[in-house]
Amino acid sequence: MENMLKNYIVQIGADKAQVVLCKRDGSILFDSHYGKRDHFLEVMALIIGSVSATEQIAKTMSVEKDSDFMMSFANSSHGIFAMPTASSDNIELYVILMFENELNPAQFKIKIRKICQYLLENIKLKENKKNLLFENITDDEIERMFEGCKV
């Protein structure tokens, strides 16, 4: 998935923006590692919170049937676009695109739509999660996991 998406982003010329793909619960599935990385997780939590809230507002306006919603917070050179979409096997997703010092931000509106379409058509994400990753974790292991982060 990662490589396919990476290639597609380059192919449509969206590689001059930071592109992030996440599930609606906030887990980040893909990140193009472009641009500023300060407080990446915090910024993402805020953006994902805003998109979910915005999407929810759209639903209370009973316009959810219109699938083409995009959240946009931008001026003529910097900004964020975010769009709800899904994978071809129906995992609900958000695509987030952030850009800076851009002469033509509108091009990214087209590009984010293309990425959404690409995901809908080409990307499968469903996993058959049946095995437990860990069994019998001990209290000692938990202590050790926390030990390293104490001040």
Partner: protein, 198 residues
């Protein structure tokens, strides 16, 4: 979210502090922030009002140590407590891997504890969870206050699933890490993956 990345050997989990307004949720994560080394935690993102009431959520990313070769990152969220923020609470519960229910032990808060707990159950159901199977720790907070009810009463009125409990005085940090550690253990042992996929 419980996102396990085999290539990077990384686990991401979403932990939500849930409970009535002013129960001590934000205090819990502020204490964790203070006691965690700078390179292991992010900033606390707080969307709050002038009087420090949580408006949408607080968020703190926490990089713990390794467990069996996997780097572990917890994404800690708190929900806003006030009754009218139900819509926000629903959103924050999306993809939750474990919950610390922060109950306010004060006698006059029993009603709001119960209301909040019931709300949590119906919000979880709405998100497609069976609430009885979601990893949950009941934190009995504000044990320092003279008007705190007995542990028996809290258990009887709130502990629907006989979940593990932890007494706390979050302002002093008592019980804060203990709650998170107990929850971590349950959350990690609940992680499911498809081992054959990688």
């Amino acid at each position: 979210m419980s996102f396990v990345n085999y290539n990077k050997k990384e686990i991401n989990c979403k932990i939500v502090y849930y409970g009535p307004g002013l129960g001590g949720k934000t205090t819990n994560i502020q204490y964790i922030f203070q006691k965690t080394a700078g390179d292991r935690r992010g900033k606390i993102v707080s969307l709050d009002s002038d009087n420090e009431r949580t408006l949408f959520f607080d968020f703190l990313p926490l990089d713990l140590g390794e467990i069996r070769g996997f780097k572990t990152r917890f994404h800690l969220y708190t929900v806003p407590g006030q009754v009218f923020y139900e819509a926000s609470r629903k959103l924050i519960l999306r993809g939750v891997d474990g919950i610390i229910f922060v109950a306010d032990s004060q006698m006059e808060k029993m009603e709001s504890n119960i209301e909040s707990f019931e709300g949590m159950l119906s919000n979880l159901k709405e998100q497609g969870y069976d609430p009885s199977t979601v990893p949950l720790i009941m934190q009995w907070n504000k044990r320092d206050l003279p008007n705190a009810v007995s542990i028996e009463e809290l258990n009887q009125k709130l502990n629907r699933f006989s979940s593990p409990t932890q007494e706390a005085v979050a302002v002093r940090g008592d019980g804060v890490f203990e709650s998170l550690k107990s929850l971590s253990k349950i959350v990690l042992m609940n992680l499911r993956t498809n081992l054959s996929s990688n």
